[in-house]
C-alpha cells in the first residue's frame, strides 16, 4: 500500500490527492491493471456478487433501522408499519430479508467453487480461513437479524439456538444468561441482538477487506489450478473482468429481483407473521434454509457418547450435537491443512472430484433433513449424511493425500486453455 514508485497522474486534482494519499494509484494497481488469470469461468463471479450483496444488506439495513423499534412490545408492530406506512418500506424489507438468502446463495457457491478448484491450498490458506471467518460472522449476523421482527419463529428460533450453549460444561448456563440478559429470551435479548446485528456487518466489511488484500498478494487461483507464469497467462482486471463481473452481477440481480417482487415470502416461514408468544410453541421450529444443513448435523447426534459397557457418559447427546455442528465449520477452517494433495483443481483430480460432488449432494440432503421433523427416516438419513460430511474431511481427504495419483499437469494456463480448445474441436 506504499506509494513506492507512483506514476504521475495527468489530472492535477487527482495528482494532488494521489501524491498525498495514493488511493488512485492503488485502485489502478489493484483493480485496473491487476493481472488476473485469463481462464476464469463464471464461478469466479461470485466473490464480486457477494460483495454487491454485502453492500445491499448494509444500505437497506441502515434505512430499516431508522424505522425499527427495538423493544419486545413494539418490534413486530414497527415492522408492520414499515410494510404499510413507510414510503417504499415494503421494498426495503423484502430486499433485506430476501437479500440475506441471496447473500448466502452467493457465498455458498463461492465456497464450493473454492473447494472444487482447490483455491484454499498453499499459498491461499489464510485467504480461505478469512473466508470461513466471514461465513461464521454472516451466520451470526443472519441469526440475530431473524430475531428482530419478533415473530413466533424469531422468538422460538432464538430460544432453541441460545439454549444450545447451555450444553457447554461448567460455563454453559452463565453464557446463556449473558446472551439472554435475563432468564429467558425477552426484551434485553432483543436489544443486545439488535446492537450486535448492527455491528457485525461492519466486522464483515473489515474481514472482507483483509480477504481481498490477501487475494491481491497471492493473486487468484483459476479453473486449471495452475499458477499464472507470466503475461501470456493473465489479463488486466479492467476491462476484461470488470465487464464479466458486471454481467454476472446483473444476471444474479434478475433472480434476486424475481424473488423480491414476485415471491417475497417464499423463502420465509408463515409462522413469523404471528407475533412472538412465549406461551405457544410452534409445531415445527425450523431455522432459515441456509442453516438447515448445520441444523441437521446438530440434531443428528441423538445418542450419548460414553465408555462402552459402563454407564459413564462422557458427552451427552445435546453437547454432542453442539460439538458436531461447530466441528463441521471448524473442519472447513482447517481444510487447507487437511488436504495435502499437490494438485489443486478437481479438473486434474479424478478421485477427489467425485468425492467432492458427492459431498455437495450430501450437503443438499442434509439441508432437506434439517427442514423435516426429527422423526422416521429423516433421523437415520441425517445421521448417515453427517457421517459422510465428517468422513469427507477426516478419512477421505487424508486417504486421497496418500493414494490419489498425481496426474501430469499442463505446463501453463495458456497450454491448458489450448488443450481444452483442441479437445472440443
Amino acid at each position: 500500500m506504499g506509494s513506492g514508485n507512483r506514476k504521475k497522474l495527468d489530472n492535477p486534482a487527482l495528482e494532488w490527492l494521489d501524491s498525498r494519499l495514493p488511493i488512485v494509484s492503488m485502485i489502478q494497481k489493484e483493480y485496473g491493471v491487476f493481472p488476473t488469470p485469463k481462464n476464469f469461468n463464471y464461478f469466479w463471479n461470485f466473490g464480486a456478487i457477494a460483495m454487491v450483496m454485502l453492500v445491499t444488506m448494509i444500505i437497506t439495513g441502515i434505512v430499516l433501522a431508522m424505522n425499527y423499534a427495538t423493544t419486545a412490545s413494539d418490534a413486530f408492530d414497527s415492522v408492520e408499519r414499515i410494510m404499510r406506512d413507510v414510503n417504499h418500506g415494503w421494498l426495503l424489507r423484502y430486499l433485506h430479508s430476501n437479500g440475506a438468502s441471496f447473500f448466502f446463495i452467493a457465498v455458498y457457491i463461492h465456497m464450493f467453487r473454492g473447494m472444487y478448484y482447490g483455491s484454499y491450498k498453499q499459498p491461499r490458506e489464510l485467504l480461505w480461513m478469512m473466508g470461513v471467518l466471514i461465513f461464521l460472522l454472516m451466520m451470526a449476523t443472519a441469526f440475530m437479524g431473524y430475531v428482530l421482527p419478533w415473530g413466533q419463529m424469531s422468538f422460538w428460533g432464538a430460544t432453541v439456538i441460545t439454549n444450545l450453549f447451555s450444553a457447554i460444561p461448567l460455563v454453559g448456563d452463565s453464557i446463556v444468561t449473558l446472551l439472554w440478559g435475563g432468564f429467558s429470551v425477552d426484551n434485553p435479548t432483543l436489544n443486545r441482538f439488535f446492537a450486535l446485528h448492527y455491528l457485525f456487518p461492519f466486522l464483515i466489511v473489515a474481514v472482507v477487506f483483509l480477504h481481498v488484500w490477501a487475494l491481491h498478494v497471492t493473486g487468484s487461483n483459476n479453473p486449471s489450478g495452475i499458477e499464472a507464469k507470466g503475461k501470456q497467462d493473465t489479463l488486466p482486471f479492467h476491462p476484461y473482468y470488470t465487464m464479466k463481473d458486471a454481467f454476472g452481477i446483473v444476471v444474479f440481480l434478475v433472480i434476486y429481483a424475481t424473488f423480491v417482487f414476485f415471491l417475497p415470502n417464499a423463502l420465509g416461514h408463515a409462522d413469523n407473521y404471528i407475533p412472538a408468544n412465549p406461551l405457544v410453541t410452534p409445531a415445527h421450529i425450523v431455522p432459515e434454509w441456509y442453516f438447515l444443513p448445520f441444523y441437521a448435523i446438530l440434531r443428528a447426534i441423538t445418542f450419548d457418547i460414553g465408555i462402552p459397557f459402563t454407564d459413564i457418559v462422557l458427552i451427552p447427546a445435546k453437547l454432542g450435537g453442539v460439538l458436531a455442528m461447530f466441528g463441521s465449520i471448524a473442519l472447513l477452517f482447517v481444510l487447507p491443512f487437511l488436504d495435502k494433495h499437490p494438485v489443486r483443481s478437481s479438473r486434474y483430480r479424478p478421485w477427489y472430484k467425485w468425492f467432492f460432488i458427492a459431498f455437495t449432494v450430501n450437503a443438499f440432503i442434509l439441508g432437506v433433513c434439517g427442514g423435516k421433523p426429527a422423526e422416521g427416516i429423516w433421523v437415520p438419513l441425517a445421521q448417515a449424511s453427517t457421517l459422510y460430511y465428517f468422513a469427507f474431511f477426516m478419512v477421505i481427504i487424508p486417504f486421497l493425500n496418500k493414494k490419489e495419483p498425481v496426474l501430469e499437469l499442463p505446463g501453463s494456463i495458456s497450454e491448458s486453455v489450448l488443450n481444452k480448445k483442441g479437445a472440443k474441436a
Binding site: W90, T258, Y273, H284
Partner: protein, 246 residues
C-alpha cells in the same frame, strides 16, 4: 415461473388435515391484481360477520380507499363506530365518532375480554392472517367452508367444532358463514362459498396491501435488469472478442 403465487409458503398445516380445495384468486400470478368488487364484498362480510369477534389492528378506515371506496363512503363507514379518545383539557377520556384516520375498531377491549366471551379461545387478529398461515388465502377459504359433523367416535368439548382443514381438526370458532347472511348489492350470489372466497380475498389484501405496486414495480425492474444484462453481455463479448483477434 408457473409457481408465482402471492405468498406460496410451504403447506404448514400438517398431520390429519385434508387437501385444500382448488380455488382461483385474481391476485395470483406475476400479473395478478386484486378485484375491487371482491374486496368490497369481502370487507362487507368482515364488517357484518367476523368483526363481531376478530380485530384488524393494522388497518385504518382510510386504507379502504385502496379498495375503491370514495372519501365520502369511508367517512360514512367510520361514522358507524364510536372510539375512545383523549385525554381532553380536563384530563378525561371521551367517546367520539370514528374518523377515517382511526384504526378499525376492535370488538373487545383486550385479549382477556375476548377470551372470556369465546369460551376461553382467542379470536386472532385478522390483519396478517393471510400471511401467517401456510397456503394463505387458500387455507382461509378451506377453513371457512370446511366445517363438518365430526367422524364417528370423536367427541368434541363444549364450544368445539370439527373442521377438516384446521390443524388438529378441532376449532373453537363456530362456522361463521352460511348462505344469505350478508346482502350483496352487485348481484353476486350470496352463498357460503362466495362469502368465503370474497373474505379470503379481502384478508389477502389486508395482509399485503402493497402487492399491486410491488408487482408493477417488479415487472419494470426485471425488464430493466434483463435489458441491462443483455447490454453487459454484448459489451463483455465485444471486449473479449477483440482480445482473441490480437
Amino acid at each position: 415461473m408457473v409457481f408465482l403465487f402471492v405468498a406460496p409458503q410451504a403447506h404448514a398445516a400438517g398431520g390429519n388435515t385434508a387437501e385444500l380445495p382448488d380455488v382461483h384468486f385474481s391476485f395470483e400470478g406475476p400479473f395478478g391484481t386484486y378485484d375491487r368488487g371482491a374486496l368490497q364484498r369481502g370487507f362487507q362480510v368482515y364488517k357484518n360477520v367476523c368483526s363481531a369477534c376478530h380485530a384488524m389492528k393494522y388497518l385504518s378506515y382510510r386504507n379502504l380507499a385502496d379498495m375503491g371506496y370514495s372519501e365520502g363512503q369511508i367517512k360514512a363507514i367510520a361514522a358507524d363506530y364510536e372510539v375512545t379518545d383523549g385525554p381532553n383539557e380536563e384530563g378525561e377520556m371521551f367517546e367520539r365518532t370514528a374518523r377515517p384516520s382511526d384504526k378499525f375498531k376492535a370488538p373487545y377491549a383486550n385479549d382477556a375480554q375476548a377470551r372470556y366471551a369465546n369460551n376461553g379461545a382467542l379470536p386472532v387478529d385478522l390483519s396478517l392472517i393471510a400471511k401467517a398461515r401456510g397456503e394463505g388465502p387458500h387455507y382461509l377459504y378451506g377453513l371457512l367452508t370446511g366445517y363438518e359433523a365430526p367422524p364417528e367416535g370423536v367427541t368434541l368439548a363444549i364450544g368445539q367444532h370439527w373442521n377438516k382443514y384446521m390443524e388438529g381438526n378441532k376449532i373453537a370458532m363456530a362456522a361463521p358463514l352460511s348462505d344469505d347472511v350478508v346482502a350483496y348489492e352487485d348481484g353476486t350470489p350470496t352463498t357460503k362459498e362466495q362469502y368465503a372466497k370474497d373474505v379470503s380475498h379481502f384478508l389477502m389484501w389486508a395482509a399485503e396491501p402493497k402487492m399491486e405496486v410491488r408487482k408493477r414495480t417488479g415487472i419494470k425492474v426485471v425488464l430493466f435488469l434483463l435489458a441491462f444484462a443483455g447490454i453487459m453481455y454484448a459489451v463483455k463479448k465485444k471486449i473479449w472478442a477483440d482480445l482473441k483477434k490480437k
